[in-house]
């Protein structure tokens, strides 16, 4: 079978090579999945280029996969061949809270990912794919959509009368916007790019605020909305104080993701205390949240925003496109 690997010790695009390999066999408690589609996340670039994300393995990268079970190992009762599935990003994380061994996601460190024609995974590392999505669409869910779901529905859950502020237009943000629309929750979105405004309004944003033009965007959002109940912060600790400025009393900001590591400012104590705010940090989410999300997707007909799809052989082009400044939606690699 064919698979892509990041060669041990290689930290640029040259390390990403396609090779032939033995079809893997599932051991006890495992299943084999014929992968039909895989989706990229921001972190896949970090896995390629940053040794903190790697061990000395030749690593099959990428975490988000959708496919069909084609072999079942001894003792596995929850799956049978033919079941359509998607991957669970974190390891051994059935329900909140996380713990030291959840790992950094499939396709990083010593956990082989899904950029291969066939992968073997623990039976609990999969959930059923939503019936209403194709494999290409479903492959987009494991990291970005799951993270958005946890941030909206599992930590200080948002209610239909709430207002939510979503920072930026990355994968998590666009899923958060879709989920809010389907839940009847008003969502304001920030972007640095005016070209994205129309599309955001079409996707259901009630307001779009440009953070490049308006560095005091937190206050602007507060004035526009009367204060939001929740901020989905994919912009890192550097965006915390502006996020808190946008919040109503008693509100919360959920901080996720990899951007602006450590470029933050000291937390504004008067905002946190005076408004009685909560700042959450969270890693993607527990498997039970992904099961809920799949049911929600089917119930409401949620569709991912797809930026571009590439063939398996063009995986390198997919990685490049993931870093495009025009990125709006998910980059998917089709393995059929």
């Amino acid at each position: 079978m064919k698979r892509w690997i990041l060669k041990s010790g290689g930290y640029d695009a040259d390390a990403l090579i396609i090779e032939d390999a033995q079809k893997p066999e599932p051991g006890p408690g495992q299943v084999r999945v014929r992968i039909e589609a895989a989706a990229l996340n921001y972190r896949d670039y970090l896995v390629m280029t940053n040794s903190l994300w790697r061990t000395d393995l030749d690593l099959i990268p990428v975490a988000d996969g959708a496919g069909v079970i084609d072999a079942v190992g001894a003792g596995v009762t929850e799956w049978k061949t033919g079941d359509a599935v998607i991957t669970v990003y974190m390891r051994d994380f059935p329900t909140w809270p996380p713990h030291p061994d959840v790992g950094m996601g499939l396709g990083s460190a010593n956990e082989h990912g899904v950029l291969a024609e066939y992968v073997v995974l623990s039976a609990s590392r999969l959930v059923r794919k939503p019936a209403s999505l194709t494999s290409i669409e479903a492959a987009t869910l494991p990291c970005a959509a799951h993270t958005a779901w946890t941030a909206l529905q599992k930590l200080s859950p948002a209610r239909p009368s709430d207002k939510v502020l979503i920072l930026g237009t990355g994968g998590v943000s666009l899923f958060a916007l879709s989920i809010c629309r389907h839940l009847g929750i008003e969502a304001i979105v920030t972007t640095g790019s005016e070209q994205k405004r129309e599309r955001l309004l079409e996707l259901g944003a009630s307001e779009v605020v440009n953070y490049r033009i308006d560095p005091d965007w937190g206050n602007t959002v507060y004035q526009l909305s009367g204060g939001v109940n929740k901020v989905i912060n994919s912009a890192g600790v550097g965006a915390l104080n502006q996020s808190m400025a946008a919040l109503k009393h008693g509100g919360n900001v959920v901080t996720i993701g990899m951007i602006s590591q450590g470029e933050g400012e000291p937390v504004n104590e008067y905002a946190l205390l005076g408004k009685g705010l909560t700042i959450h940090g969270m890693p993607v989410g527990g498997r039970d949240g992904l099961v809920e999300l799949v049911a929600f997707v089917d119930a409401v007909g949620l569709k991912p925003v797809v930026h571009q799809t590439f063939s398996f052989n063009d995986a390198k082009l997919a990685y490049e496109e993931q870093r495009s400044s025009d990125l709006f939606g998910k980059v998917i690699i089709s393995i059929d």
């Binding site: 993701g257 450590g262 933050g264 104590e269 905002a271 408004k275 959450h280």
Partner: protein, 338 residues
């Protein structure tokens, strides 16, 4: 009646002056309380000094926010109270239920809100709650600010379950109340302190073990290794202690931020995210939470730690005692017989 005021424009204890004035009368919706005892908080010195020009207006103000007393007159339309009711004050204004709001103020006895350092005070009928039956009014006077802050930190969100671990920082009164409440709930309590002579007092409150934050600037990691991670950190030290609090916390733990003693941490994101930590700002608490706390205090027979008690004429000595580095518990001022 006698009362103490901070004279307009004064910024030292020289501005604290005793006066003899007319007895105030309760208006519609108000009650008059015969104040039996008051207690001091850390912030009362900020009020004297008008720290950051944030605590005073241009006018004289009666300082201090925490008091317990007996209702002796009710104004027109007041039905929830009657003369003889034992009450304690509610620290913040218009904060009946969560969430906080812009009108809360900085507590009785600051800005434009006259406080309780007087033999009689008149307050809105919503600005008092019933005093716990198991405490004297001297003891009950310690509750409005510090105890409620500890209660909100523990109970308002992510309350510790039996057998979970709670960490308190230092030996200020919020920490001591938090330790007592947490023990009563069946949690295991750990504490940081910089004073070896306070360790045995902490252990007498039920603290399992202590950690020295002064000798060990990486106390967060030390606490995590020794305990397996803390489910609830009551961070009374403040914003310069966020990262250490996060290090001490268990996965999925809650850091309740109370204090304004230390400043400046930029959150280190990697472990904040990986551990799934919640960081919550706790501004004292609501009247509703205060009533819950009072029920709990009665049910578990919680007693406050009292450091020193002073007579009403010795208010200035009380303020000085509040600054002592040996302080362990509340400074109480007795004002009239129960």
């Amino acid at each position: 009646m006698k009362r103490w005021i901070l004279k307009a424009g004064s910024v030292t204890l020289d501005g604290l002056i005793e006066q003899e004035v007319e007895l105030p009368e309760p208006g519609p919706g108000e009650v008059r309380i015969r104040v039996c005892a008051a207690s001091l908080n850390y912030r009362d010195h900020f009020v004297v000094e008008n720290a950051g020009e944030s605590w005073r207006t241009q006018d004289d103000v009666i300082p201090v926010g925490d008091a317990a007393g007996v209702i002796d007159a009710v104004g027109e339309g007041v039905t929830q109270w009657a003369a003889g009711d034992r009450v304690v004050t509610v620290y913040l204004r218009d904060f009946l239920i969560w969430p906080p709001n812009q009108n809360m103020g900085l507590g009785l006895g600051s800005l434009s809100e006259n406080g309780v350092l007087a033999q009689y005070v008149v307050l809105s009928s919503e600005r008092v709650v019933r005093a716990p039956r198991n405490l004297s009014l001297s003891e009950a006077s310690t509750l409005p600010c510090a105890a409620l802050t500890a209660w909100t930190a523990l109970q308002h969100a992510y309350p510790p379950k039996k057998g979970q671990k709670v960490l308190t920082l230092g030996t200020g009164s919020v920490s001591l109340f938090a330790a007592s409440f947490a023990k009563a709930q069946g949690a295991e309590v750990f504490a940081t302190t910089s004073r070896a002579d306070k360790i045995s007092k902490l252990e007498a409150l039920g603290v399992t073990s202590t950690f020295d934050y002064h000798a060990d600037s990486n106390w967060g990691d030390t606490v995590f290794s020794a305990t397996g991670g803390i489910d609830k950190v009551v961070n009374t030290a403040g914003f310069g202690s966020l990262n250490q609090s996060i290090k001490a916390a268990a996965f999925g733990g809650d850091v309740a931020v109370v204090g304004l003693m230390t400043f400046g941490d930029v959150i280190e994101p990697a472990s904040f995210l990986a551990k799934g930590i919640s960081l919550r700002g706790v501004p004292v608490g609501s009247r509703e939470l205060q009533n819950d706390m009072i029920e709990f205090i009665e049910r578990h027979n919680i007693k406050p730690v009292i450091y020193k008690t002073f007579e009403f004429s010795n208010v200035k000595l009380a303020y000085k005692a509040q600054l002592s580095s040996d302080i362990f518990g509340k400074v109480v001022i007795n004002i009239s017989e129960e």
